[in-house]
C-alpha cells in the first residue's frame, strides 16, 4: 500500500506530468484558456489515462512480453489509445447527446495527447505491476488536471492584464508554467519521508 501512496503523491505533485515530464503541453496550452474546458479536459484525461494504462499493461505484459514482441509496444499502444478514445467518444454520444456536445470535444484532442502515451511508456520503463500502473495512470491524470485547472484560473485573470504584446498568448503561458514549475519544486522530497 505504501508504494501506491508514494507513486500517487510523487506523480501528482513532484514528478508532475506537465511540470516535470513536459507531457501534454499542446493540450495544456490549448485548453487552459477557460476553467470549465480545463476541468472537462482534465477529467477526461484522468479517465482515458487510467484505462489506457490498465489496458496497455495487460497487452504488454500478458501478450507482447510473453511472445517476445516487445518492439511492437509503441505501435500497439498508440493503436489501443486511439481505439479506446474512439469507443469512449461513441459511447458518450449514445449516452447523452447534450453532454457529448459539452464534453466530447476534448476526446479527439486526447488521442494526440502525448501525456497518455507517455504514461503508458513510463509505466513500462518503471516496471510497475498492474495495480501500480492503474494508480500511476490515475495520479498522472490528476496531476495534469490540477495544473491545467490552476493555469486556466490564472489565464482567465491574465485576460484583463496589461501584458507586453510580444508575450501575449503562448509566451506568457509558458513563463507562468515555468514559475509554477519553480513552485512545485517545493514539494520535492515529499516521497522520501
Amino acid at each position: 500500500m505504501k508504494d501506491l501512496i508514494l507513486i500517487f503523491i510523487s506523480t501528482v505533485l513532484i514528478n508532475n506530468f506537465v511540470l516535470y515530464y513536459f507531457l501534454g503541453i499542446c493540450p495544456f496550452l490549448g485548453v487552459s484558456g477557460k476553467i470549465e474546458s480545463a476541468f472537462g479536459m482534465g477529467v477526461a484525461v484522468i479517465f482515458v489515462m487510467t484505462i489506457a494504462n490498465a489496458l496497455s499493461w495487460l497487452i504488454y505484459h500478458l501478450v507482447l512480453v510473453k511472445m517476445g514482441l516487445g518492439f511492437l509496444a509503441y505501435l500497439l499502444f498508440i493503436l489501443v489509445i486511439a481505439a479506446l478514445v474512439q469507443i469512449v467518444e461513441m459511447f458518450i454520444r449514445k449516452f447523452s447527446p447534450p453532454l457529448y456536445r459539452a464534453l466530447g470535444i476534448f476526446l479527439p484532442l486526447i488521442t494526440v495527447n502525448c501525456a497518455i502515451l507517455g504514461a503508458t511508456l513510463l509505466m513500462v520503463t518503471k516496471n510497475y505491476n498492474f495495480i501500480q500502473s492503474v494508480v500511476y495512470g490515475f495520479a498522472g491524470g490528476l496531476g495534469f488536471t490540477l495544473i491545467i485547472l490552476v493555469m486556466a484560473g490564472i489565464r482567465e485573470d491574465l485576460e484583463y492584464a496589461d501584458i507586453p504584446s510580444v508575450f501575449k498568448g503562448a509566451a506568457i503561458t509558458l513563463v507562468t508554467t515555468g514559475l509554477l514549475a519553480l513552485i512545485f519544486m517545493g514539494f520535492s522530497g515529499l516521497i522520501s519521508a
Binding site: E156, L158, D162, I163, T176, I183
Partner: protein, 308 residues
C-alpha cells in the same frame, strides 16, 4: 468660472496606493533594524542591492514599455526590500541582484505590472534563486559573526539533527537564518502595526496562524520530537510570511471567505512541507502555491449578493 465634472462619488478617502506601500515600509522598520543589528554591514549591503536593482529594473522596463506609471508608488522598492529580507545574509551580490531583477521583470512586469501579477514577486525571486543557486540559498551564517561561522537554521537543526533551539533565542532572533526572518519580536511589532492601521487584512494572518497552531498541537502530541507550537511559531519564515507576504493584496483573494481559505491552505501546506518534505522550511512555497490558486479561489468564493 471653469468647473470640473466627473461622476459620483465626489468625496474620496485619503488612502492611496503609494500610502499603502509606505505604511508597509514603515511596518518593516523594526525588522530592518533587527537585521542590521544581527548581520551588520551585510544586511545593509544586501538590502541596498535588492532595493536598487528592483527599482532600476522597474524603471527600465517602464521606459521600454513607454508606460506613464512611475516607480514612485514604491511597490518595486517594497518588493526588493522584502526579497532582501528573505535571503540568507551570506548570499553573493550577483545572486541577490539577479533574484531582484527576476522578481521585478518576470514575476511582475511580464504579467502587466503593479496589480496584475499572479505571484508575489519577492517570493518568486527567492524561489528562482533557490533553483538557480541552491547551495547559496541553503547556507546560513551565525548572527554577529557573519564572516566566519556558518550555521544551520533552527528548523534545519530540528529536522535533520533533532536539536531544538530555545524559544527565547528565537524570540529575540539570535539564530542563523534569512536576513529578516530571525527576529520574531520585530516582525510581530511590524505586523501588529499593519493590522492596526488596517493596511493588511487580518483574516489571512489569523487563519494562517490558527491553522499552524492546530496542526502543531496535534503533531506535537502525537510525536513530541516534531517541535513545539512555540518553536514552529517563532522559527523560520512563518511570521514574516504571515504578516508581510500572505497579506500582499495583489496576489491574495479579494473575497472574505477566499482569504480564510487562503490562510488555511497556506498553513496546511507549510506544515506538510516542514514535516514531510526534504526542505526544512515551506512558507515561501506554500504562499506561492496558494497564489497560483488565488484566481480559482476568487472565482468560486464570490460573495452572495445582498438579499439572497
Amino acid at each position: 468660472m471653469q468647473v470640473t465634472v466627473s461622476t459620483s462619488p465626489h468625496l474620496k478617502s485619503n488612502i492611496k496606493t503609494a500610502i499603502i506601500m509606505r505604511q508597509v515600509m514603515i511596518a518593516l522598520i523594526p525588522v530592518v533594524i533587527a537585521a542590521v543589528v544581527f548581520f551588520k554591514y551585510r544586511a545593509i549591503w544586501l538590502m541596498l542591492n535588492c532595493v536598487l536593482s528592483a527599482v532600476i529594473s522597474e524603471k527600465i522596463i517602464l521606459r521600454i514599455r513607454a508606460k506613464s506609471t512611475s516607480t514612485k508608488d514604491g511597490s518595486a522598492a517594497l518588493s526588493g526590500l522584502l526579497l532582501a529580507l528573505i535571503l540568507p545574509p551570506s548570499i553573493e551580490w550577483y545572486a541577490a541582484t539577479l533574484g531582484s531583477v527576476f522578481a521585478i521583470v518576470v514575476a511582475k512586469q511580464l504579467f502587466g505590472g503593479l496589480g496584475s501579477n499572479i505571484f508575489n514577486p519577492a517570493l518568486i525571486g527567492r524561489a528562482f534563486l533557490m533553483a538557480a543557486y541552491p547551495k547559496m540559498l541553503t547556507t546560513f551564517v551565525e548572527p554577529f559573526a557573519v564572516d566566519t561561522v556558518s550555521g544551520a537554521t533552527p528548523l534545519a537543526l530540528q529536522k535533520f539533527s533533532h536539536i531544538t533551539t530555545s524559544s527565547v533565542k528565537l524570540f529575540w532572533g539570535n539564530v542563523p537564518g534569512s536576513l529578516g526572518e530571525t527576529c520574531a519580536i520585530a516582525i510581530i511589532i511590524g505586523g501588529v502595526y499593519l493590522l492596526i492601521k488596517k493596511i493588511a487584512d487580518w483574516r489571512i494572518p489569523l487563519s494562517l496562524l490558527v491553522t499552524t497552531t492546530c496542526i502543531t498541537i496535534v503533531f506535537h502530541w502525537y510525536k513530541p520530537q516534531s517541535g513545539s507550537i512555540l518553536f514552529h511559531f517563532l522559527s523560520g519564515g512563518l511570521l514574516l510570511g504571515a504578516f508581510f507576504m500572505a497579506t500582499d493584496p495583489v496576489t491574495t483573494p479579494v473575497t472574505k471567505s477566499g482569504r480564510y481559505i487562503f490562510g488555511v491552505g497556506c498553513g496546511i501546506l507549510m506544515m506538510i512541507i516542514r514535516y514531510f518534505s526534504g526542505l526544512p522550511e515551506g512558507m515561501m512555497y506554500s504562499i506561492l502555491f496558494m497564489n497560483s490558486l488565488t484566481p480559482l479561489i476568487n472565482r468560486y468564493t464570490r460573495p452572495k449578493r445582498f438579499g439572497t
